[in-house]
Amino acid sequence: MIRFLGALLVVSLLLAAGAARAALTIEITGAGASQIPVAIVPFRAEEGLGQRITPVVEADLARSGLFRTVDPGGISPVPHEPEQLNYEQWRARGAEAVVIGAVSKAADGRYDIRFRVMDVAKRTQIAGFVYFASENQLRLTAHKIADVIYEKLTGEPGVFATRITYVVKRGSRYELHVADADGYGAQSVLSSNEPIISPAWSPDGTRLAYVSFEQKKPVVYVQSLLSGGRQAVAAFRGSNSSPAWSPDGRQLAVTLTRDGNSQIYLINADGSGVPRRLTQSSAIDTEANFSPDGQSILFTSDRGGGPQIYRMPVGGGPAQRVTFDGSYNVSPRHSPDGKSFTFIQRNGGRFNVAVQDFASRQVQVLTDGGVDESPSFAPNSRMILYASRVGGRGILAAVSSDGRVKQRFTADAGDVREPAWSPVVNK
C-alpha cells in the first residue's frame, strides 16, 4: 500500500505541473491468440464518482488484446459480494472470472474502493484488495485494479498504471508530453521551437533525459517531472545525444563527438565529473541501451560498414556484433526481462520493428508499417511501443512481443513521435 501511495503522489504532482491536454485515442488492430473471458460487474455506488472505476478497468483489459469482456448486464441482484454470486449464471455466460467490488466513503474523506477477482469454475477468490483514493486518483486506482486482474489471470505483471512520453510536433512547435499508458491525461512538460528527440525515463520514473536542439546543436538534458527543473548534463563541443539510463539511475550513456567521431561515453546523471569513454572505434557508435543488470550495453555501430547492433561490457572489453540479418539494424532496446531486444530492421527500403532472442538468436519481424522507428518495451516485456506514420502524419503504435496484439494511438492534431514507456513506479 505504501508503494501504491508513492505512485499516487508522483502522479498528483505531475497533474499539478501542467495543464491537461487532449488525449491520445487507442484502437486495437489485432488480438491475442486466446482471450480470457472476464466479467467486470459495475462496483456498488460507483455511479456517484466523478470517474467511474469499472469502465476504465474494462477498457484496459480489452485494449491488452488478452481479454474478452463478458457482458454483466441483466443479472439481478447485481453482485458486489462473493455470497451474492450465482456462479452458474456466469459460467453460462462463458466467464472464467468475475470481478466484483464496492465504493464507499472512508473516514478521512477519501474513497474506499474494494474489489475481488473470483474464479468461476473453482468458486474461489483469486484476489481481493482495498484502495483508498481521492477524487483525482480514481483513474490511477482503476488502472491498479486492472493490473491486479491482468497479473492474476495471465501470470504476468500488468502495466496499465504506467505512463508514456512522446514528442508532439505542431507546426514549428515541439512539445514533450507525458500521458497515462491509456493515452489519457496528456500534458506538456517541455515546449520548444527547436526539435526534441530521444526522451528516456529514469529507472524510478521521476526524471526524463532527452536531446534538445534549443542551443542550435544537440544537447542532453535531464528534467525532473516532480519540480519541472532541468539541467544540461552533456553540452560538450560538437553533438551530444542518445541518452540511456543505467539501471541504478546514477549514470547515463550518451553519444558525444567531443573527441571527433560519434562515440559512447558514460556520464553522471547530474552532469558532474568527466565523461568516461566506453567505445573506441573510428566509426559511428551510438544508441546505447543498458542491459537490465547494468553489466553491458547494446549499441548501434557502422564499424563493419552498414549499421549493426553490437554488445559490450560496461566495464570494458571487446564489442561483439549481435545482428546479422540484413544490412541495416538500429535502435536496440533490451526487454526488461533481459531475454531479448527490440530494434529496427531495414528490408528493401522498409523499416520495421523486430525482436531478437538473446539465447536462440531468432529474429522475428513484428510490424509491416515500413516507416517504423524508436521501439521501446513496456515494463512487463509484453508490448513494444514505437513510432510510425499514417497518411503523412506521425503516430504511435504498439505491438505485442509475439506480434499478435496491435494497437494504434492517434492524437487530435500534430505529428507524434519518439515514444518511450515508463517503468513501473515501485516507491
Binding site: I197, K216, K217, S239, S241, D259, N261, S262, S331, S374
Partner: protein, 185 residues
C-alpha cells in the same frame, strides 16, 4: 579520380587530426576562445580572381559590404550537398569550401559552425551521427585548406531540421547537406 585523391588527402588529414586532443569541454562556448592575439577586424578581403578590368575594394570599412553576405561573393554560399549514404565532399563544392577555409585562415579569431543534416529515412539518432560525419568531412577539408581546427565546431541536426519537408527524392537530396554557419548569420 580527383575524388579519390581528395579522399586520400582527407584521410591523411584525419589521421593527423585524430591525435590532437581537444581540451574544450563546454561545447556551447564557441566564442570563448581568444587564443591568438590577432586583431579582431577582418584583416584582408579574400582575393577575387578577375581578368580584364581590375577592381579595387573600398578601404572604408563602414562602406564595404560583408563578403559573407554579398551574393556575388562565393563566401555567401554555405551549403555542401551529399550523395545518399555518403560523406564525400564532391568536387563542385570544393571552391566554396576552400573560400571559407581561406577566410578563416585570414581571420584567425573567426569561428564557424558546420551543421550536418540527413534525409528523414531511418533511425533519428543514427542519422544524427551521419550528419555529424558530413559536418566533419567539411571541416576536414577546411582544415586541410588552411583553417584551424579550433575555429570550426561541427554539430549535427540529423533529420530534425529539414530544409525541404517533402518525402520524395528531391526533398531528401536537399536535406543531405552540411551548412557552414557564422556566428552572426
Amino acid at each position: 579520380m580527383k575524388r579519390y585523391l581528395l579522399a586520400l588527402t582527407l584521410t591523411a588529414a584525419l589521421a593527423a587530426c585524430s591525435s590532437t586532443p581537444t581540451k574544450e569541454q563546454e561545447g556551447a562556448a564557441v566564442e570563448d576562445r581568444s587564443g591568438a592575439p590577432v586583431a579582431t577586424a577582418p584583416a584582408q578581403k579574400p582575393q577575387t580572381q578577375t581578368t580584364g578590368p581590375v577592381t579595387k575594394p573600398l578601404t572604408d570599412k563602414s562602406l564595404s559590404g560583408n563578403p559573407l553576405k554579398d551574393p556575388a561573393n562565393i563566401l555567401s554560399k554555405r551549403s555542401v550537398y551529399f550523395e545518399l549514404d555518403s560523406n564525400v565532399v564532391r568536387d563542385e563544392f570544393k571552391p566554396m569550401v576552400q573560400a571559407h577555409a581561406r577566410y578563416l585562415q585570414q581571420n584567425r579569431n573567426q569561428k564557424v559552425t558546420v551543421q550536418g543534416n540527413t534525409d528523414e529515412r531511418g533511425s533519428r539518432e543514427y542519422n544524427l551521427a551521419l550528419g555529424q560525419r558530413r559536418a566533419d568531412a567539411v571541416k576536414q577539408m577546411m582544415t586541410l585548406l588552411g583553417a584551424q581546427s579550433e575555429q570550426i565546431e561541427t554539430v549535427s541536426f540529423g533529420e530534425e531540421k529539414p530544409r525541404a519537408t517533402g518525402s520524395d527524392e528531391q526533398s531528401w537530396a536537399e536535406n543531405r547537406r552540411a551548412d557552414i554557419v557564422y556566428p552572426n548569420d
